[in-house]
């Protein structure tokens, strides 16, 4: 019923409508895919590729312009991994951590900065890919996989020692933690991005001009912090799996 009044409102404010749970479905090989997520993801990937290729195509001894910026970004991402995993074996994990950070960051900002609502889709709307729970769950499960891989490849089956290490009483909690880690990672990112977009659209619904701007800036800030948190936590989990018990 309340959705009916939503629909009536939508007819009036088609540019600032609130749409949740509506998707552009693609049926491929018996699977229903959320098309709008794929479209924006491809745009994000293309943007990242163009940036990195442009930044690294003409390398100079003294970095200038884009190359300088890229090196700064690389050092920033390296620091995230180094602070959480430790000097000794952070190096192989820099690519994963930085990929996760850059992807989430660019997705969030692309959703907030590009005026997607000007593009009409038959159903659903283009927005940040991270406001779809499937994307965030996939990213969180990737993190789970990588910390298991990190631990198993470094310590072999001795990795499972840490479940019973201080005392076996904590075994159920330690097993539970493996499930709550991806759950909290994915819900945190999903909820934050969706909440940002909802708040902005509701404000835009009430007052279409000027008033949503501060909220949008807050959203930009919050979404960059979310990217930082996701990558920091991934690095922390990997570091936890890698650390030695003595």
């Amino acid at each position: 019923m309340y959705q009916n009044s939503f629909n009536i409102l939508q007819a009036f404010y088609s540019l600032s409508a609130v749409e949740v749970g509506k998707h552009l479905y693609w049926n491929i090989a018996g699977f229903q895919l959320h098309g709008q997520v794929f479209i924006v993801t491809w745009i994000v990937l293309a943007a990242l590729l163009v940036f990195t290729i442009a930044g690294t195509s003409n390398l100079k001894q003294t970095p200038q312009g884009l190359q300088n910026f890229m090196e700064y970004a690389y050092e920033f991402l390296q620091d995230i991994a180094k602070n959480q995993i430790g000097e000794h074996d952070y190096r192989p994990w820099v690519p994963y951590i930085s990929t996760v950070f850059l992807f989430i960051f660019t997705c969030n900002w692309a959703g907030a900065l590009i005026p997607w609502k000007l593009i009409e889709l038959p159903e659903g709307e283009l927005a940040a890919p991270t406001n779809d729970i499937n994307v965030t769950v996939a990213l969180a499960l990737l993190t789970s996989l990588s910390y298991f891989y990190a631990g198993l490849s470094k310590k072999g089956l001795g990795y499972f020692n840490r479940y019973v290490n201080p005392t076996p009483i904590l075994l159920p909690i330690n097993i539970l933690e493996d499930f709550t880690k991806p759950l909290s990672l994915s819900f945190r990112l999903f909820g934050n991005i969706l909440a940002d977009e909802l708040v902005v659209s509701v404000f835009a619904l009430l007052v279409p001009i000027l008033i949503p701007l501060p909220v949008m800036t807050l959203g930009l800030f919050a979404s960059s912090v979310q990217a930082l948190i996701f990558s920091t936590l991934s690095a922390a989990y990997i570091g936890e799996a890698l650390e030695d018990h003595h």
Partner: protein, 82 residues
């Protein structure tokens, strides 16, 4: 759609966010107060304190966000209305 189910869902979604905001609100207040105290005592550490504060504020914020996810599920993807 059963009207009682929808009414209960709307009330519950309001409560989910509202109640979930209490604890993190108190926690964020405490954290910010301690950070201000730390900066007042040691102004040269302001940068590091601010960074840590923002990160931990975002962690506390995520607790409210869990409540928000529950309420969004109740509003837009309600499993009890077929």
């Amino acid at each position: 759609m059963n009207p009682i189910v929808s009414a209960a869902s709307v009330v519950a979604s309001g409560l989910a966010v509202g109640l979930a905001a209490i604890g993190p609100g108190i926690g964020q207040g405490t954290a910010a107060a301690q950070a201000v105290e730390g900066i007042a005592r040691q102004p040269e550490a302001e940068g590091r304190i601010r960074g840590t504060l923002l990160l931990s504020l975002a962690f506390m914020e995520s607790l409210t966000i869990y409540g928000l996810v529950v309420s969004l599920a109740l509003l837009f993807a309600n499993p009890f209305t077929s």
